[in-house]
Symmetry: C2
DNA sequence: TTCATTCTGTACTTTGTAGTACACAACTGG
DNA sequence: CCAGTTGTGTACTACAAAGTACAGAATGAA
């Protein structure tokens, strides 16, 4: 019973995600986001609150997307080795070449000192915890497929470390084949 | 034959390093650096140039420190496995607990989108290349110590990935024992 | 058609901070 | 002791960008 919104909030969040990914939190200006999305600043503030609240929305959305995909892939039947390799390989396009050269929004936020005392950090920690939990659950469930003495918890964490390393080094424009080779070498830890 | 400097440039670079590490490039203000170092802004500009030039000096200094240490450790006699493990273990205090929670200045700079088109990126790439080169050279030289088919180049890169992952995840305050466990697990790739 | 309500666009204020002008202080060579 | 040179401190300017006031537009309900 009033004037309706002239924009789709999801579209704006998507535009904002791209700007934040390209510039980082600090250097991304709201003027740039409003220009790219075509809406005016008061509309942005009315819909999402201030800059940090907007970023948090964008980041949570980003996290949910990756977690949803990970849940789907890691729930597939078959050897744990294969589904985890498939999961890691899915990141190759996002951590190599020009497409990957902006890195990962979550990691970029984690390494941004200006976001230290915000909700952002909690969101990132929750995301990392859930991702590792998915890996751990799968490795524990399928531990019979591995050698005696295999440590599913440690291995889940090591995979997280490798994943984080690949997504971080993406900023220097990694080669897709080399990324895949690293994944394959690390997968030999799952025996 | 003129008034001498009233400060040691190295001291100022050290102060600036701490501020940049804590706040990130953007959020670190020159006022904060001058306040912490006790010198005035015109002196800072006269000695180092503008903010980006100062950051580059700080970053190069940081890189040189780590590279120098890596050269020393990796040149030691003994099995390659042992010296590389020792080198990685040396990072544990810097990527765990409160001390490591600011992460690595180089990685923080690499993931900062606002520094994309600067000399900073070249400095980071050179640093990563040299570090990996040190690992590669040592693994190649000692390849006889490993199994047939051991790939020193790939393994050097994988170690870089793990190192980067550990330094990145340091932001969430990792547990030192867990970091060491990951290192030990990854070291099993060197056989 | 009219009213109440909510959204939109322009244009503004405010603030943090990078960078500098300028007068003065500290030193050295002669 | 003087002159020339370089560093220092105060105080300023310039500017970008976050956040907002306000007038007007777009809707649904009566």
């Amino acid at each position: 019973m009033a004037r309706p919104r002239s924009f789709d909030p999801d579209d704006v969040l998507e535009v904002a995600r791209k700007v934040f990914l390209r510039k980082g939190y600090q250097a991304a200006s709201l003027d740039e986001i409003t220009a790219a999305s075509g809406i005016a600043k008061p509309s942005l503030y009315a819909a999402f609150g201030d800059k940090s609240a907007l970023f948090l929305r964008v980041l949570d959305r980003y996290h949910d997307g990756i977690l949803g995909w990970a849940e789907r892939v890691l729930a597939q039947p078959g050897p744990a080795h294969d589904v985890i390799r498939q999961w890691l390989t899915g990141f190759v396009p996002y951590c190599s070449g020009a497409k990957g050269s902006r890195g990962c929004l979550s990691i970029n936020a984690a390494t941004d000192g200006s976001l230290d005392q915000t909700e952002v950090r909690k969101s990132i920690e929750r995301y990392n915890r859930r991702l590792e939990q998915l890996l751990r659950a799968r490795l524990r469930a399928d531990r019979a497929q591995f050698r005696k003495g295999f440590d599913p918890d440690l291995t889940a964490h090591t995979i997280m470390v490798v994943h984080t390393g690949l997504m971080t080094l993406a900023h220097q424009g990694s080669d897709a084949k080399q990324v895949q080779a690293v994944i394959d070498q690390v997968m030999t830890l799952l025996t």
